[in-house]
Amino acid sequence: MGLENLKETRKQSITVGFLFERNKSRLKLSSINGEVGFEKEIRDKNIHRPGLALAGYVALFTYDRVQVFGNTEMKYLHHLSLAERIKVFETIFKFEIPCIIITNDNKIDDELVRIATERGVAVLRSQFETTKLVYFLSDFLDDQFSPQTVLHGSFMDVYGIGVLLAGRSGIGKSEIALDLVERGHRLVADDVVMITRKGEGILIGAGTDVVKHFMEIRGLGLIDIRSIFGIRSIRFQKRLEIAVELQEWKQDADYTRTGLDHGNISILDVEIPHVKLPIFPGKNITVIVEVIALDYLLRHYGYDAPKEFSKRLDAAIAEKSKGKRAIDYFEHDFE
């Protein structure tokens, strides 16, 4: 019940049309041959610059990637005669290319567009220079093909730290989230949290489009946090940094007493701190969650409270000082 054995999913493909729609304003894209080839699928998150393939070397041509024609490719094509250009294009179009993107708003011959159209391949053009386009497009494709999973819990931004409250159904995650919202923290998602791995070491969480910032409180039903508490009480996405697992107090369970032995948990192969928090009536979990976030911030900036305490203890042992008062001499204080 919790954070182990998560089911990992990832998209197998996106269509060229989807790529175009999502990026046309962001990447200043236009389509030269209308909606031709929009149904073709892209299955690889990498981008390819087909310089060598244009020069005739196609042995290692990664044709199934998005093909980006930068200044190098276009200048090379233009130093050839039209007949040679057509021949080059016919060679690379023997392969199943998903789409072509021309950068720098470069011009392309109508004859070449016609060949692409005949083969049902979209020719897109961007006003961006190649490095900029490759940067943004790689980031987009990386996100589209990144591994995802669904977590059951409440996901909060507490003092800027992304904290996931996990634990069995009915243990009170939503109630704690509500309490945190009341104290000025922000809800990202409740009950269904979609986690995506961004790059190699970052987890980003968001809600689903159906649920947004609705929440169920037992005995009350569904409530809308955004309508009740306003825009400051929510956010749409947040980096996941700590997992707090709420557990029923068990006499014989092994809870950390020093904090030196905090475990980590691996979510989509990213390790994040994992705090197991026993709960019982009368314990103010909200404040503890705030302190967990603040303590994480302290550690992030290089101060580890348990380690500092441990160092002091070592020093005291070395000096053979035995539980002395912190103040040597109490002066008068009759208030």
Partner: protein, 88 residues
Amino acid sequence: MIEREITIKNRAGLHTRPAASLVKLAAKFKSDFFIDKDGFEINAKSIIGVMTLAADQGSKLLLRFSGEDEEEACKAILELFESGFGEP
């Protein structure tokens, strides 16, 4: 662990009222109960989770039970799905 595949029978699909009766019934059992729809898996003891599925008539769902009373839980939940939540 028990796994069963079911199809949504009633015309209106797994809308708010059936979702509520499903989670109410699920809460009576100790076992964990998950539903998978097209690779998207949610905790079926959460009303928000079940509603997120937005399962319409004909949707195929994979039910997964695990825990001490999984047999009883599976039987009761399957009956509820079979009945179409008492709807046409």
